[in-house]
Every structure is written in C-alpha cells, then in structure tokens.
Symmetry: C2
Subunit: 642 residues, 2 copies
C-alpha cells in the first residue's frame, strides 16, 4: 500500500464516478447492500469474462446456472441450517448488536494502537496499523450515503508488555474462537459496548441465511443460497452423465449469493448480497493428482500455513507449488494446482503479487464441510482480506445429500482387471426366518447383516461347534437363538468388475466484489500536479472502457470524425465512450483517468485538415499524433494483445 | 408450430441433454424452480451477450447491477406491496390452491375442446386447441422430476351455440377480470375444483413477492425484487449525472428477479425465479420522439391492439412501425422504435417471425405503474406467451419515489432562449401573518399559496373592490378574514432560464427464460430416418457449442489432431467440445444434433495420412473433406460472419 493512501479520497472517487454506490441511497441505504454503476458493472463483466476464459474454457468445466431460492430441507442436510452461523452480542442497555469476533478484534487493535501512540510519545517509535470502528447501522443512519469508516477514539494508553503480547497472540488466531472462547475474551479483557461503555450479553449464535417461504401455503420454508455450491452438488449425477461418465471433471457457477451479515461495515468487503464464482472439481479420493500439475509446478506462491499462525506469527513462506506439495505443506496436487491458477488469475487482472498471500485455515475457523482450506488473501487498507477460498470439501456434501435422498451420488469405474477376492458373507433364508421371528424378524435380520466379516467368521465357527446353533444380540440388547437353517455363512469368491466411490471435491470459491474492491485499491494512485488527480491504472483487459473519443469543442465540424472513430473501434469490439460535454480537454482527461480509461483520442481542427488525431496514454500521459485509422488500429492492437 | 410437435418427446430431449432440469430434483423438486445445465447455461450466456450488443452497446445505455434484496419501504412506495398480487382460490375441502384466472381459463378451454370433439363426432369438423391441466404441486410430488403436463380429462360434451360464444368472449379478455369478476365467472359457469369437483372459495389476493428480513434484529422487512427496474429508478440522479446531464438516455440491467407464483405450471414459462433484462429509457414527456426512429420506420410488425381484443377478436394487423405511430395505433416514436428493435432481436436469435406478435394490454390487465403496454408474444405449444413487455410507465415511478424521499428526481434543461412570461403570484408578509393567525397561520398560508393563478387574480380584484379585505376558506372549511397588509398579490414578470421536468420512462422488459424456451420450440424438428432423431437448429450465434471435434475411435494416433483442432478453434474464440467417448460417429452426431451444435469435425485414419478431416453441417448433414486448417477456418469464418 502506498504510504499516502487516503481511503476517504479514494472512496469519494469511486462514488463520484459511480463505480458503486450504497443501494437504496435515496431511502437512506441499507448496510451491506450496494449497486454497481456503469463503470463498476463493466469492470465486473470484464473480470467475469476473463474468469470464464481462465478457468471454465481452459479446462472444459461444465457451467451451471442454478436456483437461488433453496428449500430448507437441502440446507438442513448440507449443515447450513445448523452451522452457518456467526456469534453476536448485544449492548445490554441499548440493544445494539455486534458481531462478537469483529468487536473483540476492533477493540484489541484499538488498544494496541493506543499503546503504540503512548510508546511513540515516550520516544520508542514503534507503530501499529490504524484501526477504525464505524457506526453505520441498518436503516438508522438516514443520510449516511457513504459507508466510509470514521475512526473511533483511540486513547494513547501504554499496555504492559505481557498484555500487549497476549493481545497480539489473540489477534493472530481470532478466527479460531467459538462462542465460549469469545465470551471468555470479552470478560478477560473487559470489553464493553464501544460507544456507550455498557456491558455486553454473552455471544449467541445467529444464522446467516435469509429465510423466506415458497408458494402460497406458507408451509414450504426456503432460504436464499449462501453459496452456489449446493446447486452444483445436487446436479452431480446429471453432470457426470453429461461428461460421459469420465473423471476427474469440474462444474462451475457464477451467480448471486446471500449472507445476512450481523453488522456489515467495511464497504464492499462485507456485504449481504454478492456475486460469487465457484468451481467444484470432483476427484478420486484415492488419487488427488492433477493431470496438468506439471504446467504450474514452478509457479511461486506466498503461503501462511496453519502451524505458523498457531505460533502467533505471520511471516510468509515463498515457495513453488511443486515444492509445497512435495513437502506436504499443501495436501495434494489438485489443491496446489488451483492455488497456482488462482495466483495467475489475480495477478493477470492487476492484483499486486507482493500484496497477495495464501493463508491456511485454522481448524476451528474451517467451514463445517471442509477438511482443509487455503484462502487467497489480498492486502488492502482494511488489512489482509479473504478473496478466494480454496477448500477441500472431501466427500462431505455428496455423502450427506445421498444419505438424505437415497440417490446414489457416486462414480462407477470399470476396473482394467477384475478384482477377485474372498469375503465372508451371509445369506438369509427368508422362508424360515420370517415365521421363526415374526415381528422381530427385521430386527434380527439387521443384527445379522450388520456383522463385520470377522464377526461372521466367528459366528460360523461357533455354530459349527455348537451343532448349528448360536445366539445373536440386537442393538437394543435383546438376545435371540438362531439355527443354521435360517441362513448360510460362507467364504465366497467375489469378482468385481466395477469400483464405486464418492468423489472428493476441491472448491475454489471467488468473492467477486472483494476482488473488485481490492483491485481498485491496488491500481489507484495520485498524479502530482496543480491539483492532485486520482488515476485508476486498470490493466487494459479489465478496464471498464478502453478508449475515450472526444472533440476539442462542440463545433459541428468534429461530429463526423467522432462517429467514424467510434464505429471503427466498435467494429473491433473495443468499448469506447464519446464525450462531447462542453468541458475542457484537460478536464475530460482527468475524468477518464478516474474512470481508468487507458486511451484517449482527441479530434481538433488539424484533424479536419489532415485526418490526424491525438492519441493519449493514461499512465504516462504521453501523446502522439497519428492518422485516424492508425490511432484506432493502435488502440485495437493494444487491447487485443493484452 | 409443426403439426406433429410432440411436447413430451421434446422436453425429454431437453432434460436428457441437460438444457435444464427441475431444481432440487433429487429432493423431489419445487414447482417453478429450474437449473440450467451446461448447454442451457451457454445458450443463455450467448443470448445475453447478443442482447448487450443489440441494445446496450448500440445505444450507449448505462448498465447497472443492483441489489436484489430490497427494503419494504421502496416497494411500498412503488406500489408493489399493495398491488403486485394475483387472485387465488382454494378447494373448500382439500385446501388445494389455484390461481383463479388460470383455473377459469383452463376449465373453459377444456369445455370448448369437449364441445369441438362432440361436434366432430357429429361430423361438423370444427376444432379447438388442445388444453391440459397438470397437477404438480410444491414438494408433494416427490418423484415427478419432469413437470410435463398430463392432459386432464376432456369430456365430449356439446355446448349451446350462445354458451360457446360467451366462453370464447371471456377467454379473449381473460386478463381483464379482477377478483369480483373472476368470482362471478366461477359462479356463472359453475367452475369447481378440477380433480375433486368440490366448491371453490371466493378469490382472494396473494402478494407475489418473496418476503424476508434484513439484519439480526428482525425489524427491517425486505422483499426479493420482482423486477430489476426499481434499482434503476432509485439511481436516476447518479445516472443522469454520469450521462453529463444529457437527455434522452437509457439505463439497463440484466439480473435475477423473483415472483412467488401461486401455482406455477407450464415448465420454464412460469417460474418463481428468473433472469430478466430490462431497459429504462428516459424521455421528455413533451417529446417522445426517438432520434433513431427513421432507421426502423419501415420495419414491419404484427400487432393485436386492445380494441380488437375487446371486440373478442384476435386477428393481427401487419403494419410498419412508421404507419402504426403515424396512425396513433402505437402511441409514440420511442415505443414504436423499441417494438421494432425487439422484433429484430428476437428474429436474429431464431424466433420465427410468423409466430411473433405484439399484443396491447387491456386497461385492467396493465401493471399498476403503466399507462400503455405492448407485449411481444411468441407462439408455442402452450399458446401465445408474453416474452417481452414494452410498457410506458410515464413518470409514475420517479414521481412516487421523489415524493416519498423528498429527493428531486428531475431533469433541469437550460432553455436556448430564456422564457419570459407574466404570472400572478403571492408573497406572504410573515411579520403580520403570524401574529394575526397564531396557531392557524400555517393552515391559512397553505390555503393562500395553493390558490391557482386564476383564483389569485380573482382574490386581488375582490380585495381591491372591498377596501383591502376579503375572506379565505381553508381545505377543512374554516373561514378567515384577510387584509392587504398580510400579503402582496401581483402580476409579476418571470424570466425562466431552466425548465424542470420529471422524465417519462419507456420500459422494454425481457423474460430471458421464456424467450429461451420458445426459441428451443421454434428450432426443434425431427429428422426422418431409421430412428426419428431430434435436432435443435439454433442459429450459430446462439448455439451453445459451435463445433464438435471427435476421433473415429479411441486409437491414440488421433489424440494430437484433437488437441490441434481444438486449440485452433479456441484461438478464434470458437467454443468447441472434444468428444472421445467410445461410441460410434453416428451416435455422436445424433447427440450433437440434439445439443444444436452446428458443425462437426471428425478425425479418421485418412487424417493421419493426409491431414484432411470431415466437416459436417448439422441441418443438411452434408459432409466435405478438407485440410485440418481449412476446416477449422471455415467454421471460424461461418461463426464470425453470422
């Protein structure tokens, strides 16, 4: 981050140029809901198109577009109804609601900052990152259109060295606390409601899904999906069939998801409605190698593994994914492959590699479905922000949905050589069995068929010894006598031609809004001059508009040239904007620097005489004079080649 | 519609090839919710890209991406909370719920069909369209994965001629009945619950918005947007500013909307969640001309105006939009312009022009915000289906939101010449006024300032005659004496440099799912042969995949050719699929005919010798042999030129 990054000025620019704005602004806004204006919308569309090229087309992923409204049954099974929660606590007097972990984090960071100030005053010179607590609440703050943060009061109070260390250690693993842990922290560190100083209630769980009701009866409960993944899992059977039953393969989905955040602040970084792009890559659990791993083996990434964080440290390990997988720092090739591909994608759209890292989840912060997870985190003025999650969901989702629906969600793989082996198995003689046990028959049968191979062998031996008789105990503890007419136990020879397995899922999941915001911070800078002017140096490939076309003035002689150049560019598929508002050329350039438009073509009186125009490049402000066709062609070549 | 169109076979094909499938199928599905599989998703993406080119880029519309979750206050103001409803009635015994207008329509159509059968049996030979009533209900029909209709029982009962006529007349204006009207029809025609024959309750209103609650307090009610339009209106001020305050202009949005339909049947045609593409074109109410109207003046469209429908007729008027606007059949140029542009778009993606019409809404069926509306209706096996609404929303939305929020949603237009005119106006003398009327001062002041110019002139005359005294009556009926010291009334000279007005909105609104489904019906046909094979003859521009690449067999010598051709195509941006499943070439062709893939390239042993391949065209099944590069190039040229 450039030292002089000024978030207030930056966010004013984004708002003024309508990259985005608080949704329902004229109604006072709702925390966590935003609208993208024309440049934000174009930036998002360009980013998503690139995402499709980089992931979906490159690997022939099967793209889906699934329902957002989801019946409760599905999300009960997936675990979201019970476990997709955050901890919240209330100011005991005002009833104001806080997200417990965020509150603890903000208070401790503010205290550390106060400590740094106090030590600085003493001349010790240490410093800590600035922390702010803002106060925008749902529907209360009628006129707060910009949700920019206002710094809370930071008192310069020196902390004892051991207290400071304990704060730092807590902050390094803040995502690792559950409700009880958070309650302890609140008590231990005497954390109060920030504005009132009142006590806080103990943290309680709040489910983050928006609830609704489907149909006119009111009996069918639904939720807005919290992720696009479930729709993909439910279609697994159709997808596998569509892929001609071949493994491995991936499905993908771009779409809106919803999370009813407790108290969203931090602008676009924590919102209640967002566009995601998710990949579900299905692999054989016995072999998580990736066929194209060698292509990325040498790619360097910066890792922050779980064990480093548990030591209270945050130093990064710069390493090739090949080495990371070989050393088992990253569990398998497929996970490693995606870390590399995510890194390449983010850098290609303009994220600075030195502000990008992959952080492994701690065990308690992992989503309920995940067995390993690495987040791509991007550094912004808000700190390190999770922008892409890359989780190993193992067979969790397919298994639970299959168990609930009795639909087989498996892969059947023809074995190259049939597998021949011996197995103890039991066959019930229904004719004798039913009459012998009557209403208990099912219970006894289940007790017998659930015996392990080893137990079957023991039973067989015992019955042979006891003249074809023995007893069997049901799970409820009842004992029944069984005889050898009732079933046959034998050591059978089995020939298997097909192997059945539930695939594991590696899931790279992209939060598009967070990536967009981080990108805008990374490409923002200020041009020195008479006035300091903001510039957004988007890479051409994602820039909302590629070329500005403007006349020197409103003089009618320029009109045919405007149309000619605009249509030349459009024919090449180059988005452009004709700006014939009556402001000076300099002001138009400044406006388009703020919009991140990489090129500008200006038509003046010389154009009328010799058909040359001025072509200006955004970052360098270099200007050259060229024939109309050459200028348009130069822009097109540049856009296409980038 | 081809005479032999068989919807069951057609829908089986769409399901088998995973164009779409009922969402949550393995959970038994939910009526009105669908997932798009890979070909459906690609078809939709191609269609939306074309929509963006045809509308947004062509006219520099300002695209937005707004919040779906909407606070209740916004939709209360827009009228949706009170008026966005359908009429439903219940079976008095089973409680089964029906959408009242659909039920009346289905029953009357079934009776007409029965009448036709009876008359046919008599040899009269008249016929009526087939009608079906299906029976899929939310979450009840566990295994009904395909929501295809099953025909209800149609009894061959002859109707009296006058009864038949009255049925036809009701059906021609079925959208024109309100709750009371529907109740009368149900009684008059003795309409019962179709399966049980039980009585029905009187129709009651049901709001079609999905309700939820925003944030953890439960106090902020939200709805899922029923249209993308509101987000655009709320951003009007920012949009106008972004457009450098120039009029007219349009905003546009592509996104998901939600309607909690009472009893959705008819597959993709009536769903609870759908992708829309909406344009809000803002015009000066004093001048609804369109600057590019002349470009479309000669475009022929087929119209069904409101007055024709009220006559109980449905014959179409084939006319140029120029003539339709000149004759005031279509109200204004902007509306006419969009009818033409919509027609061109739909025909370009593959809708058959002879199965497309524009129907004007009847006054009672118009949405609460509209003052005129023409629907683009496409003919399918379900009858004529509304796919694009083109409504004149006048100044309705901007006016109500402005009134509610006190935010000025207007255009300020510099007048080329200042407008100088005389106007009667009143100025209150606050010093005298307050003491004279005390707590009634505000009331009296409002009564005075709300007088029209004519009333002011009269008051002035009367006071002059009565020695500077008169009386004024407040709206509540109280009378007060006023004197000439309290205010000044004069005929002032006003010079206006700026004109202020609230723009009117013309809104073309596209239901993407309905267009997709109708398109699939239009391009579907059956190839005669040993087996009848389905073919989807999508125009190349929207076809999900442009080219199939396949080897003659799994022999490894073909592998490098597969990769070479696939990468040649990809470099040209041509989507393709490599099919090396071990089935015969004929079966692969058949599969890709069903997917609507226009070209197929096959690699065989001759390829290995002379680098030639077979290139096959889908509709004609013509095959030619060409060098690898020529074949790939031929496909690319075709795709790009179409």
């Amino acid at each position: 981050m450039p030292a002089k990054f000024d978030r207030a000025t930056f966010e004013q620019l984004l708002l003024k140029r309508f990259f985005f704005a608080p949704a329902f602004g004229i109604y006072g806004g709702v925390a966590g809901l935003y609208d993208y204006g024309p440049p934000g919308c174009a930036l998002q569309a360009n980013l998503l198109q690139l995402w499709r090229q980089h992931f979906v087309l490159e690997e022939d992923m099967l793209e889906l577009d699934c329902s957002i409204m989801t019946p409760a049954d599905v999300l009960k099974t997936s675990g979201h109804v019970d476990k997709f929660t955050d901890w919240m606590c209330k100011d005991v007097k005002t009833g104001e609601i806080f997200r417990a972990d965020h509150l603890v984090e903000a208070v401790l960071e503010a205290r550390l900052e106060g400590d740094a100030l106090a030590r600085q005053a003493e001349g010790s010179g240490s410093s800590a990152p600035a922390t702010t607590i803002d106060a925008v609440k749902d529907g209360k703050d009628k006129k707060s259109k910009s949700k920019s943060k206002k710094p809370g009061k930071v008192a310069a109070v020196k902390l004892a060295d051991d207290v400071r260390e304990s704060y730092r250690s807590v902050l390094a693993q803040i995502d690792n606390y559950d409700g009880e842990g958070l309650a302890q922290l609140i008590e231990q560190f005497a954390i109060k409601s920030p504005e009132t100083g009142n006590d806080l209630t103990a943290p309680t769980e709040f489910n983050l899904m928006f609830e609704s009701s489907i149909g006119p009866t009111g009996h069918l409960k639904g939720y807005l999906r919290p992720e696009t993944a479930q729709g993909q899992f439910l279609n697994f059977k159709r997808l596998l069939e569509f892929n001609n039953d071949r493994m491995p393969f991936a499905s993908a989905q771009i779409g809106r998801s919803f999370r009813n955040e407790i108290s969203p602040r931090s602008g676009l970084l924590r919102v209640r409605e967002f566009t995601m792009a998710e990949i579900e890559h299905y692999v054989d659990p016995a072999n998580k190698d990736h066929p194209r791993f060698e292509e990325v083996r040498g790619q360097k990434v910066r890792l922050l593994p779980a064990n480093v964080q548990l030591d209270g440290r945050s130093d990064l390990l710069e390493i090739t994914v090949g080495e990371a997988v070989d050393k088992k720092i990253v569990d398998n090739q497929t996970l490693g492959y995606f870390l590399a591909r995510i890194h390449l994608f983010l850098v290609r759209i303009g994220i600075k590699p030195d502000r990008l890292r992959f952080r492994q989840h701690l065990s308690n912060e992992m989503a309920h479905y995940a067995c390993d997870c690495w987040d791509a985190e991007i550094h912004t003025s808000y700190g390190w922000i999770e922008c892409v999650g890359c989780a190993d969901r193992s067979a969790y989702d397919l298994t639970v949905h299959s168990a609930r629906t009795k639909e087989k969600l498996i892969v059947r793989e023809s074995l190259p050589e049939p597998r021949v082996f011996q197995r103890w198995q039991i066959e019930i003689n229904k004719k004798v069995f039913g009459p012998a046990f009557k209403k208990h028959a099912k219970q006894v049968e289940e007790a017998l068929t659930s015996l392990t191979e080893c137990e079957l062998e023991t039973l067989k031996t015992r019955m042979d010894e006891q003249g074809g008789k023995s007893t069997i105990t049901t799970p409820s503890g009842d004992e029944y006598e069984v005889t050898s007419e009732m079933f046959t136990i034998e050591h059978a020879t089995i020939t298997e031609h097909v192997r059945e397995y539930t695939p594991n899922v590696i899931e790279p999941s992209f939060g598009i809004g967070r990536i967009l915001y981080s990108l805008m911070e990374h490409v923002y800078w200020t041009r020195e001059g008479d006035e300091q002017r903001g510039v957004l140096s988007f890479p051409t490939v994602v820039a909302p508009i590629k070329c500005l076309v403007q006349p020197l003035s409103n003089n009618k002689v320029f009109t045919p040239f405007l149309g000619d150049i605009a249509s030349r560019l459009r024919r090449q598929g180059i988005s452009n904007t004709v700006d014939n508002s009556s402001v000076s050329v300099g002001r138009t350039y400044a406006r388009n620097d703020e919009l991140g438009t990489p090129f500008g073509i200006t038509i003046d009186f010389q154009t009328v005489q010799d058909q040359t125009v001025t072509l200006r490049e955004r970052d360098s402000t270099l200007q050259i004079r060229e024939k109309v066709g050459v200028a348009a062609y130069a822009v097109a070549v540049h856009v296409v080649l980038r």
